[in-house]
Subunit: 162 residues, 8 copies
């Protein structure tokens, strides 16, 4: 049971690497498919059969007129998470609207512009519904984050009180 | 195993009813929590224990500076789906940005402005990962939709060819 | 030699009818394909072979996260004209950005929001490069339009001078 | 009687330091609370009892889907000033809308994007309603600012007249 | 001790009436000044002297290039709350930006587009810092609102469960 | 000495009639030129020679990709005032940006979206620099407006005090 | 007869220097008034009396919630040209809307964001209506610009043909 | 049979060079015309006569209030492709809207902001309708692109699997 990371272009890789860092202990085999430019022919048909190769959640990152997540959501019954990537001059507003404003029938779970990390955490939350160990990993991640916030808090208390 | 629909205000109900229509055969007990206005005190702590009362996926609809989904995502380890609702004069752009642009650590699976239907379908896709019958319901829904598209297609062929 | 009008949803038909009105004397057989919702399986592979059934220019209208034109531009070597259609609350800005901001390699000739008429006129300009009679029809259309402007001008002179 | 500065993340500190610089002679003890990421559990319940520890005005800075000010405004009866902080690619428009577009019943006094300085000055204006000395400090600040403007004016006269 | 409501134009009155409704039991004498169009000559110099006529908080509503709140904030040391009013075609985004993006030195406490009610509630929060009775009124208002939310909640439970 | 009102399309006339109403006592002969659609061939070359037919100030109203004012500013040395007209779905933001963002060398004096009245008042201010009588008319217009504001103010005082 | 350049803040000077460069041979004495921050008390009352010190056209540059041009247009009967200056994170969209969207009765002739050069050229066009020599200077400026374009054209022909 | 590249200003050349690179084997003689600033007098009347000098498709790049493509589309019956170029502070949104939102009767085939490469590819698709060899070149370009995508895909597989 795992996550597949797909991206619209090789240039999306630096942003999308944030996804696997946030998946914590879960394995995140990825696959880059520049689907738009090759006519979607190489776009894998992700099926929920499970097994060694079975993906459960798809994460798709793309920029500009970012169609990749919507195209995947139309060809698979699996949950698809979309990461709008900021490219060019419009600050990612184009990517965000092209990804989130899907018509009824084709849902894409969209996260923030360049929010690849949250895409990974969302995938873990989904998979943890059926896998107790992932839920434990997710809790550990939250505890570590809370500890970091406490430490940053103390440093700011010192900095602002001087 | 079920979905909880939460909304920021009673005025969000007409939009959010689209959610339960799209959940198809799955039961969708709902709970309205105007969390912002009552200091979050009545905001239920959704836990993934399951059981008769156990929610698995939360769907939160809210408008304007739409914080509800983000607040829920911070207090529960469950997947949270956000529905930005268009209220007032800015066309829902405020709701969309306030819901999707979450900081790292608190993922919200955002759908389109007023996209309550897709929120329901996304919840079913997530629950279907662990429940075969829901997967079947989801496939039936897709088949019905494809049939509708074929019918609309034929009507348009006639209309445009005259 | 002809134009194919494709649309993302049956609800786009009222806007897209403006296309065929503007194609003037050229025949415009149309085909509605709700490509996103049926997994692109029914999306015809438009080829430039010509012949009785040969399309030369594709016009695609869609709203929201409007992927249709981009998907067609990736699967066909023909020129694809995109008509962003305003649906929902964001005034078509989402449709426009999702259609025009295509990555390098997949060009979509985008016209104004709801600009189906200009999509038809653009198709005629393209086809007229190889067909003298269409060029003549295009000139006639411009002459008629100029006459209308002269008439409107005279009426405004009278209205503003009183 | 004092001001509390709260921020959504430690990375907001460089912007929020502008607040204490503008509070002039008033003491500004601060407290960083990354409230969203730790489930609001560590978010202090600011009460207006006064006394040595009593806060009178809260200033909350946050970026992206900036919920912090709204959450505080829901849990305290004190005036809450919000500073939208520009993070990421959308220039702070997301932070601004997520902070200012609050539903009726939960007011947030929002200042400009990254406008931490004005947040401090606004807090002093509010506190000066009950504390004559603060009013005097506020007047001194205005006099100093007017003097600076006169000086800048003279320099520009020279620069533009040459 | 009271609040003054100022508006940029008589056409702003229907929106600004929401302010006095939200001030609850506190008296809200108002004053309309169409300051921009008469060269600010009739704009009253609000001073914090108090007394029978003494205003403590100013609330300014204006639309379009909404300067009124900023102009008042420059001529008075009192806290100024700004209500951006949606007029014309741009949905109030122009009013919001023209009101909130003030330069350092002139703070305006901006609320949501057409958010006159929250402006009144914010004024009461500010005045309650020095007036115990207003604090009580504010608490009563919150209790009433919480009761309304509970009632709406019950109705939605019934509606969604059928 | 007079003003010419030009418009991009006959459908702009209802908005542009506001211009002549605001020119007060000055004569405003107008001329509608749908310049874009007829290749600019009928676009009159406005020259500053004066005389019975001599225009001094041009006012151009247009919607969408509103080029008319910029085209006139490039072919005449006269001051050109632009009125962006809201057409279609984008609220006039397209018209405003297409009119005001002119490159260096071709100035267009742009007023608000649909602000035809202010375009007329601006033209009178410009012409009044050389014509004392127009200055008098402009002062009278301001006095009438101030009287109206005083009257509206009194009505609002009564309305808000009850 | 001359032009006055006013700016909202000393930091606007680098942009506003573009104005005087574009006034060509006409003298442009300038005056910086940081009007908002000093309560408009030092804002000169520009009157159209003429004479050695008489300003005929005012040019006002300001950023953010850019009120300066509108305030001047309300206190003077002279034509006021506004230059929205991009400051902070929103790319000048805030300055543009705060300057151009003036209510009826107070016209501001707005140019592009940071378009100080065009403000100068527009002022010369206005003054040239009454001063033949300025008209000549304006024509010379256009001739020089046309020559530059021809030269750039030749260079590009060479560059693109290799 | 060829393509003409026209640009609004010499500063647009670096972006527009992307056009000729994407035209592949087709010859692309270019012509820079700063049409707005010289009153359109030097704007060549492109006619479809063909012959050695005959242009078939026009590509126009411009920034800001980008009128060039629309002006060309009004004076020629040929297909005009518009490239909005990002200049200044608004990220090209102004250029995009000023180019794409053309009124009915004057179609401009608009591509992405700074999308000069796709403009070239679109021109080749149009010309290939009548020229078999260009179709072959276009297919070769797609094959090369597909090969590049495969290579990038492999590299990402390695990078993400380590």
């Amino acid at each position: 049971m795992s996550v597949a990371v797909v991206m619209g272009s090789a240039s999306d890789a630096p942003v999308m690497e944030g996804t696997s860092r946030c998946c914590g202990t879960s394995t995140c085999p990825t696959r880059s498919v520049s689907s738009r430019r090759t006519g979607h022919r190489r776009c894998p048909r992700f099926r929920p059969e499970g097994g060694g190769n079975g993906r459960k959640v798809l994460i798709a990152g793309a920029g500009g007129a970012a169609h990749l997540a919507g195209v995947l959501a139309a060809v698979t019954p699996l949950p698809v998470i979309g990461v709008p990537i900021a490219v060019g001059e419009l600050g990612g507003l184009d990517s965000l609207l092209a990804m989130v404003q899907m018509p009824k029938g084709v849902p894409v779970a969209t996260v923030a512009v360049n929010g690849a990390g949250n895409a990974g955490l969302l995938a873990v939350r989904i998979l943890a519904l059926a896998d107790e160990r992932l839920a434990g990993g997710s809790d550990r991640h939250r505890d570590e984050m809370a500890a970091k916030v406490r430490k940053a808090d103390e440093e700011i208390q010192i900095r602002f009180s001087t």
